[in-house]
C-alpha cells in the first residue's frame, strides 16, 4: 500500500484539500461581504453584531444552518433529491481545479481546460434542474423548468464569448488568455473585440449562475424560492455555496480574459518578477523532501497569486454592484434578450474577431516570457 502514497499523489491530495478549504472559507465570507456591501448600497449597516464588524457572522450562520431540522418531502425522489445539491457543489469545486490562480499555481493544467470549464458549468445546472424535479412539488418544478430554459439559452452565448479569446490566442489553455497581453505580437486592436466580449460574457455568466437581473429560477414573488424550496439545513446551504463558487469561477475567467490574468505587467516593468523566485514553504531541515512541495511556493508564484486575488475581488465586487443596481427581468424579456440580442451579438463579435485574426495574425501568449519561464523551469528542476 505504501507505493500508493507517492509524493505526487500526496501533493495532489494536499493541494485539493487546501483548495476546498479555501473555497469554503471564500464562500462563507462572500455571504458576509455581499450582505455588508448590499447594505451599504442601501444605506444600512448590515450584519455587524457577531464579533468585530460582524466578522464572525458566517460562523454563526454556519452553525445555525447545520443545526436546523432537516425535512425531506415524502413524495420526493430520494436518490436524486440527495444527489442534486452534491452535483452542483462538486461541479463548482471541480471548475476551480482548472483555473490557474497564479504563475504555476494551479491544481491541474489541462490543455483543453476551456471546454472542461463549459462542461462543468452545465454539470452544475443538472443539480439545479434535478433539485426542482426530485422535490415532486409544484413551485420547485416550475423553478427547475425555468433554470433549464435559462441555462440552455445563455450557455450558448457563454461558450461563444469564450471563442473570441480562443480565436485570438489559438489556444484552449486558460493560462494563455492572461499571457496574451504580454506577447511580442500583441496588438491593442484586439481590445475592440475583447472589451464587448467580456461585457457579454459577464452578462451571460450572471444568467448562468442565476444572479440578480437573471435570478428567475428563485423568483420569490412568483414561485416561492424556486428549485430549492423543499430543501432545508445543510442541503439547502449547498446551493448558494455552489452558486457563489460558480460566480467566483466566472469572475476568474473574466480576469483571465480581459484583466491580464495573474500578471502585474505595466509594459516596461513586470512587478511580480521583483518578488524573485526564492522558495516559501516548509524548510529543507524539516526533512519533508518532495512531500512538502504542495505547500511550497516561489515568491513569484505568491506575488502573482496575490495579484490575481486582488483582480478577482474587484470583479466580485462588480457582481455585487450589479445585484444592488439592477431589477429582475421578466421571463419573456430574459428569453428575448438571450436569443434575439445576446446570441447574434456574440456571433457578430466572432466574425469580427476572425477577420482581425486573419489580418493581424494570432497572438501567441506564451511567446513573450519564454526567457523568464525557462529561468523558472531551471530553478524548479534544480530543486527536485
Amino acid at each position: 500500500m505504501a507505493e500508493i502514497f507517492t509524493p505526487e499523489i500526496v501533493n495532489l491530495l494536499v493541494r485539493g484539500g487546501l483548495l476546498i478549504f479555501v473555497l469554503l472559507t471564500t464562500f462563507a465570507y462572500l455571504t458576509y461581504t455581499e450582505r455588508r456591501v448590499l447594505s451599504f448600497f442601501q444605506w444600512r449597516l448590515g450584519p455587524n453584531r457577531v464579533g468585530p464588524l460582524g466578522l464572525l457572522q458566517p460562523l454563526a450562520d454556519g452553525v445555525k444552518t447545520a443545526l436546523k431540522q432537516e425535512m425531506v418531502p415524502r413524495k420526493a425522489d430520494k436518490v436524486l433529491y440527495f444527489l442534486a445539491p452534491t452535483l452542483t457543489l462538486s461541479a463548482s469545486f471541480t471548475t476551480f481545479a482548472l483555473i490557474p490562480v497564479g504563475e504555476r499555481v494551479q491544481m491541474s493544467s489541462v490543455p483543453v481546460a476551456i471546454l472542461f470549464f463549459l462542461g462543468l458549468s452545465s454539470m452544475a445546472a443538472y443539480g439545479l434542474i434535478l433539485a426542482g424535479w426530485s422535490s415532486q412539488s409544484k413551485y420547485p418544478f416550475l423553478g427547475s423548468l425555468r433554470t433549464c430554459a435559462q441555462v440552455i439559452s445563455y450557455e450558448l452565448a457563454l461558450g461563444l464569448c469564450l471563442l473570441v479569446p480562443i480565436l485570438i490566442t489559438g489556444s484552449l489553455n486558460i493560462n494563455d488568455f492572461g499571457n496574451m497581453y504580454r506577447a511580442e505580437n500583441w496588438n491593442w486592436i484586439y481590445l475592440i473585440v475583447l472589451l464587448p466580449t467580456t461585457v457579454l460574457f459577464l452578462i451571460s455568466s450572471l444568467a448562468e449562475t442565476g444572479r440578480t437581473p437573471f435570478d428567475l429560477p428563485e423568483c420569490e414573488a412568483e414561485i416561492v424560492a424556486g428549485y430549492h424550496t423543499e430543501y432545508s439545513s445543510m442541503k439547502y446551504a449547498m446551493f448558494p455555496m455552489g452558486e457563489y463558487i460558480a460566480m467566483v469561477a466566472m469572475s476568474a475567467m473574466v480576469v483571465h480574459m480581459l484583466l491580464g490574468g495573474y500578471h502585474l505587467d505595466l509594459g516596461f516593468v513586470d512587478l511580480t518578477y521583483w518578488a524573485g523566485d526564492w522558495k516559501l514553504g516548509p524548510p529543507e531541515s524539516w526533512g519533508w523532501g518532495a512531500y512538502g512541495d504542495a505547500l511550497s511556493l516561489t515568491a513569484h508564484g505568491f506575488a502573482t497569486t496575490m495579484t490575481f486575488i486582488v483582480k478577482l475581488c474587484a470583479l466580485i465586487f462588480t457582481f455585487m454592484w450589479i445585484r444592488a443596481t439592477f431589477p429582475r427581468l421578466r421571463y419573456d424579456q430574459l428569453m428575448r434578450f438571450g436569443w434575439k440580442w445576446l446570441l447574434p451579438a456574440t456571433l457578430v463579435l466572432i466574425f469580427v474577431t476572425a477577420a482581425l485574426v486573419g489580418y493581424f495574425g494570432p497572438v501567441h501568449g506564451t511567446g513573450a516570457d519564454t526567457a523568464a519561464q525557462a529561468a523558472m523551469e531551471v530553478t524548479l528542476n534544480a530543486r527536485h
Binding site: K75, D77, L80, V110, P111, V112, L115, F116, L118, G119, S122, M123, A125, Y126, I129, L130, W133, S135, Q136, S137, K138, F141, S144, L145, C148, A149, V151, I152, E155, G170, L172
Partner: protein, 207 residues
C-alpha cells in the same frame, strides 16, 4: 493489474450497467440520467485512449448540452405528480431489438477485425487499445489536438462535414414543421377575430 486497466474495467462495468438501466428504467428522467452516466464513462474511456479532445467534446456536447436539452423536454411532458410512468410497447420489439443488436455486434466485429489489432486476443483482453489504422502515423496526436482535428475536418473532410450540417438543418426544419400545430394557428386566428369583436363591442359602447 495496472491502474489503467483497473480504471478501464470500472468504467466499462459502470458504463454497461448504466446503458442497461437506461433501457430498463420506467421513469424517463432516470433514463436520461443513466444515459448521462453512460456518457461520462465514455469520457473516461476516451481519456484512457489518450484522446483528450474527443473526451472533452463528449463531455461538453453530449453529457452537457444535449442531455440537458433531453432532460428539459422530458420534464416538459411529465408532471411531477404523475404516478404512471412511460411504458412504451412496440409490437414484437424483442425480435427487432435482438435483430438490431446482432447486426450492430457484427458491424463492430468486422470493424475491429479489419483494423488489424483484434487478431491477437491477448491485446484485446490485456490492454484496452484503440483499433489503429496504418494510414496515419500517429492517430493519437490527431485525436488529441484540437488544431490537428480542425485542420483535418475542414480540409480533408470538408464535404462530409458540410453534408452533416445540411442534414442537421433539414432535421431542424422538419422539427419546426412537425411542431407547428395547425390547431394553435387556428386559435391565434380566433384570437384576432375575438379582438375584432371586442373592438366592435367597445365602439358600440362608445356610440
Amino acid at each position: 493489474m495496472d491502474g489503467q486497466l483497473l480504471a478501464w474495467w470500472m468504467l466499462a462495468i459502470v458504463g454497461s450497467l448504466s446503458a442497461v438501466m437506461m433501457v430498463l428504467s420506467r421513469n424517463p428522467v432516470h433514463s436520461v440520467l443513466y444515459l448521462v452516466a453512460n456518457f461520462l464513462t465514455l469520457v473516461g474511456i476516451y481519456f484512457l485512449l489518450s484522446a483528450p479532445m474527443m473526451a472533452v467534446v463528449q463531455f461538453v456536447v453530449y453529457a452537457g448540452a444535449i442531455m440537458i436539452l433531453f432532460l428539459f423536454v422530458v420534464m416538459f411532458f411529465m408532471s411531477p405528480e404523475a404516478r404512471r410512468w412511460l411504458r412504451p410497447e412496440i409490437k414484437s420489439q424483442w425480435v427487432f431489438g435482438t435483430l438490431l443488436t446482432v447486426m450492430l455486434l457484427t458491424v463492430v466485429y468486422i470493424a475491429l477485425s479489419t483494423a488489424g489489432r483484434v487478431a491477437d486476443p491477448d491485446i484485446v483482453m490485456g490492454t484496452p487499445t484503440i483499433a489503429t489504422s496504418d494510414r496515419t502515423a500517429d492517430p493519437r496526436q490527431e485525436l488529441g489536438h484540437p488544431a490537428g482535428l480542425g485542420t483535418r475536418m475542414f480540409s480533408y473532410h470538408a464535404l462530409p462535414f458540410e453534408i452533416a450540417g445540411l442534414l442537421l438543418l433539414a432535421a431542424l426544419l422538419g422539427a419546426v414543421l412537425v411542431a407547428r400545430d395547425e390547431r394553435s394557428e387556428g386559435r391565434t386566428h380566433l384570437v384576432h377575430e375575438f379582438e375584432k369583436a371586442e373592438e366592435g363591442v367597445a365602439e358600440e359602447v362608445r356610440a
